[in-house]
């Protein structure tokens, strides 16, 4: 191709590229999110005679559903508080201190978020249950005849499990911001004699606010939409809206009733999303690029009572985050035989034996492969589409930008049960007859992941000093080149966080997957569920351990390879 030709083509291509960057994600969301969603909302708001609000108003006149609504808000608020109370100190420890294996622990902080709820419920029952390790330990220690702690099957059990899930989100978001915070302001304030707590409250915390608000908002929305955890650890007396949607849609064959509840749930979740977007925009500031923050050794750094406070906090966190996973690990190696608990490898041998495959209608190896490839595909799609949207949302000002923002963040407010249901009904008939195809599952996972990618990438983009791009421009670099060579490397942590979240959401997703799956497309969480449903508790634990191992390995690999690729 001649020089002249390409020079004429470039602006055209550039424009086409820019349009594609925004049009393709919107097309994707339009086809696979808004089109199915419209059908859902329509069912919720119509009767034989046409449009009606009757189904919605009936929700409020039903005393039981009012009770469910209030409980959902209550548990979501408490869960958010608990997640922040745990996540913020953890982020501090990860930022201010050095300790052996810190890199690994940082990679692994997100593991809890990626665990399927049934595995977490299993771990929680084994540790915090009436007959769990904690109660049995206390009974043996203090010679008690009955379990002293009633933690599960109540509101606090649900809140604790939600903190297990969501505190890592808060930690992740806050630590990413904290590391890039210039220590200069804090140092000046300290030099001027301000006590440590005032420096934190008046200087550090406000600068961390966008990240903290992001994390807390996600924790709220996630707890608000929580479903299997509430079912497993709360039981029927602690129902959320999401549980009711599931009940109506999947068991009571009341699709329009479920659709009405899903519409209401979506409205509430969108309201929170909107409020949060406002909040985040108000606090957004252009921060300095990082000068490395000083860190101290965790082993020798803190002194006096402070040291014991920190160690006690670490012990409590270990009990919450590590003990349930360790308990599932132990459980997978033990079996009850003639009323004795003995060590065994049977469960691992069993899940790899071909005869076992009929139990879950697929071989475990295949479900591992399915989970990994679905998660990989969803990660690529969500990261590409999400980053494209984030670049547009951050850099350009245009009419309707906040509306666009709300539109692309809306999947955050959709329950995965409702999404699975809407997709199922869309996919069984033309024009989108994807039913039974693997891409249907990948689409559902990508939709759920896109807002997380945007959420992870945007704060990094907003922190970027605009003069960097301006300088590149002035030196003659094209916008594309600026993005590729300046912007993307600088938002590396955000991109990695986005990738990890997308992967995590896909590999842990069960509520929508279980509706869209068919025997050959089984994923690991669904396999765990199938084992549990047929009294194969040992096999379920072994499969959970396999899943945890795969997730942990994948996270470490993604982070390491991502760091290397983007650094080079």
């Amino acid at each position: 191709m001649g020089q002249d030709g390409s020079r004429q083509l470039t602006p055209l291509l550039r424009r086409a590229g820019r349009v594609t960057l925004i049009a393709l994600p919107l097309l994707f969301l339009g086809l696979f999110f808004y089109y199915p969603l419209a059908g859902l909302v329509q069912s919720g708001l119509s009767s034989n005679t046409g449009f009606t609000l009757e189904r919605l108003t009936r929700i409020f006149s039903d005393s039981y559903l009012r009770h469910v609504l209030l409980f959902t808000v209550e548990e979501a608020l408490l869960s958010t508080l608990a997640s922040v109370a745990l996540g913020l100190p953890l982020a501090y420890l990860l930022t201010a201190y050095d300790f052996p294996g810190k890199r690994w622990i940082k990679s692994l902080t997100i593991v809890p978020f990626a665990l399927p709820a049934i595995t977490v419920a299993l771990g929680f029952i084994l540790v915090f249950g009436n007959n769990g390790a904690l109660n049995r330990g206390l009974m043996a220690l203090f010679h008690l005849s009955s379990p002293p702690l009633a933690i599960l099957y109540s509101l606090q059990g649900i809140v604790l499990a939600h903190a297990f899930y969501n505190a890592p989100i808060v930690t992740r978001f806050v630590a990413a911001a904290w590391e890039r915070l210039s220590p200069r302001y804090e140092e000046s304030a300290r030099a001027l004699g301000a006590p440590r707590w005032r420096v934190f409250l008046n200087i550090t915390l406000p600068m961390l606010m966008p990240a903290l608000a992001s994390g807390a908002a996600l924790a709220f929305i996630y707890s608000f939409l929580s479903f299997p955890i509430v079912l497993a650890l709360g039981g029927a007396r602690f129902s959320t809206i999401e549980v009711e949607i599931y009940r109506r849609a999947i068991i009571q064959i009341n699709y329009s009733g479920a659709a009405a509840l899903a519409t209401l749930e979506l409205l509430i979740a969108l309201l929170f999303t909107l409020g949060y977007l406002r909040l985040a925009a108000r606090y957004a500031r252009h921060l300095q690029l990082a000068t490395p923050r000083p860190t101290r050794s965790l082993l020798t750094g803190p002194a006096g009572p402070r040291r014991w406070l920190i160690y006690a906090f670490i012990a409590a966190s270990a009990l919450l985050f590590v003990a349930p996973i360790a308990a599932v690990l132990l459980d997978s190696f033990s079996r009850t035989w003639q009323d004795q608990t003995v060590f065994t490898l049977d469960w691992y041998l069993a899940i790899f034996r071909p005869t076992y495959s009929s139990l879950i209608a697929a071989s475990p190896l295949q479900s591992i492969w399915n989970s990994l490839s679905f998660a990989g595909a969803s990660m690529v799609i969500a990261l590409t589409l999400g980053t494209g949207l984030a670049l547009n949302l951050t850099r350009r000002r245009f009419v309707g930008r906040s509306l666009l923002e709300l539109l692309v963040m809306a999947p955050l407010g959709i329950s995965s049960v409702a999404l699975g249901l809407a997709l199922l009904r869309t996919f069984v008939r033309p024009p989108l007859a994807l039913s039974g195809h693997w891409i249907a599952i990948v689409i559902a996972h990508s939709i759920l992941a896109i807002p997380f990618v945007i959420r992870a990438v945007r704060p990094a983009l907003e922190r970027l000093a605009p003069r960097l791009s301006e300088a590149a421009h002035a030196l003659g670099a094209s916008p594309a080149r600026t993005t590729w060579e300046i912007v993307l490397p600088l938002i590396r942590p955000g991109l990695l966080t986005g990738a990890v979240f997308a992967f995590a959401i896909s590999i842990a997703e069960m509520s929508a997957t279980i509706m869209l799956t068919r025997p050959g497309l089984l994923t690991m969480p669904v396999a765990v569920y199938r084992f549990l449903a047929t009294r194969q508790f040992g096999a379920a634990s072994a499969m959970s351990v396999l899943l945890i191992a795969v997730i942990a390995l994948a996270f470490v690999l993604i982070e390491r390879s991502g760091e290397r690729a983007l650094r080079g």
């Binding site: 291509l13 086409a16 590229g17 594609t20 960057l21 393709l24 994600p25 097309l27 994707f28 005393s63 039981y64 009770h67 029952i125 249950g129 009436n130 007959n131 099957y153 079912l231 709360g234 039981g235 029927a236 007396r237 129902s239 009940r247 999947i250 068991i251 009571q252 064959i253 699709y255 003639q338 009323d339 009929s358 139990l359 590409t384 589409l385 980053t387 494209g388 069984v428 008939r429 989108l432 007859a433 994807l434 039913s435 039974g436 195809h437 693997w438 891409i439 594309a480 080149r481 590729w484 993307l488 279980i514 068919r518 025997p519 199938r530 549990l532 449903a533 047929t534 009294r535 508790f537």
Partner: protein, 356 residues
Amino acid sequence: MLQRTLAAALALALGLSLLGGWVGPAAPAQAQKTQDTLVVYTYSSFVSYGAAQAVAQAFKAQTGAQVRFVATGDSRIMLAKLITERDVTGHPPADAFIGVEVNDLGTAEKHDVFVPLSAKDIPNLADVPPEIQFDPTGKLIPYEHGFITLVYDSRKLSAAQVPHTFKELLDPKFRKQLILEDPRTSSPGLSFLLWTIAQFGDPSYLDYWKQLMPNILTITQSWDAAFDLFSKGEAPLMVSFSTDHAYDVIVNKSDRIRVLTLNGEGYRTIFGMGVVKGATHPQLAKELLNIVLSPEVQSQLPETEWMFPANLNATARPIWWQNAVVPSRPVELPAAQVSANLKRWIAQWVKTVLGS
């Protein structure tokens, strides 16, 4: 450059997904249309414990045709799935359904799921006792039955400590000791609710439930979630099946789980199967139902389904009969009364037990 790269990646991703979409669904649709494959919807444990394999083998030997079981959930979820898919697409996704619990007869009837069957369609029905033939319209054929009772953990409670009547179950010493299933989502849970109605009458059963509340640890969504908690020692009492002791003895070589028949009673649960209205292969479906009722398949049900076979000619090992409990007084409400009142009973239960 980046934008072009991103755009290309996007176009590729979307192109692939659309391409996959057009190519994809052809495969399962074709498989369904293959002439000699019968599609059967059933609950997951029917497949995973092995009963389905016995049926498939006998079916192939007798008819030369294949059978494909679809079992992605428990029985009520699968029935709802069948109805939903039929309503959305306009044609039923299966030829036969195995696993409608007697109390879901009303649901099946309301949604017009099954066709009536005559005695000559299913010759083996002649060996099924009339007292478990629960469907007066002759659409659903019983193939197994059992009893809902309490079971207890003999490691936590001694035989001297356990309750023997509904009243004793209210004793404060059993505070948070009982695991129940949600009657809205679980068949054993619904059976227990109906049992209390049979016991105390309508609306006095609600008073009993109010008194029972402090002794309930949790009300789970499904039987298997409850059994998981019970197995892990979370509570010593659970609403379950009268065959659980046999299961524990035969599978776990253990004597931990024991059956408790309150007042000597157990609430009868019966599972039925039927030919789906609008089925592609109605004749093959009828043959399949007859095979499920054959003495050969029926004799495998005790130790795969952990239920009592419907066919009187079925056999089971002595160890099964020694340990599977048949309550001296089986209880059941008339099917017509259940169908007529079920919705109201459950709504009242939800209001009383959950809405406060």
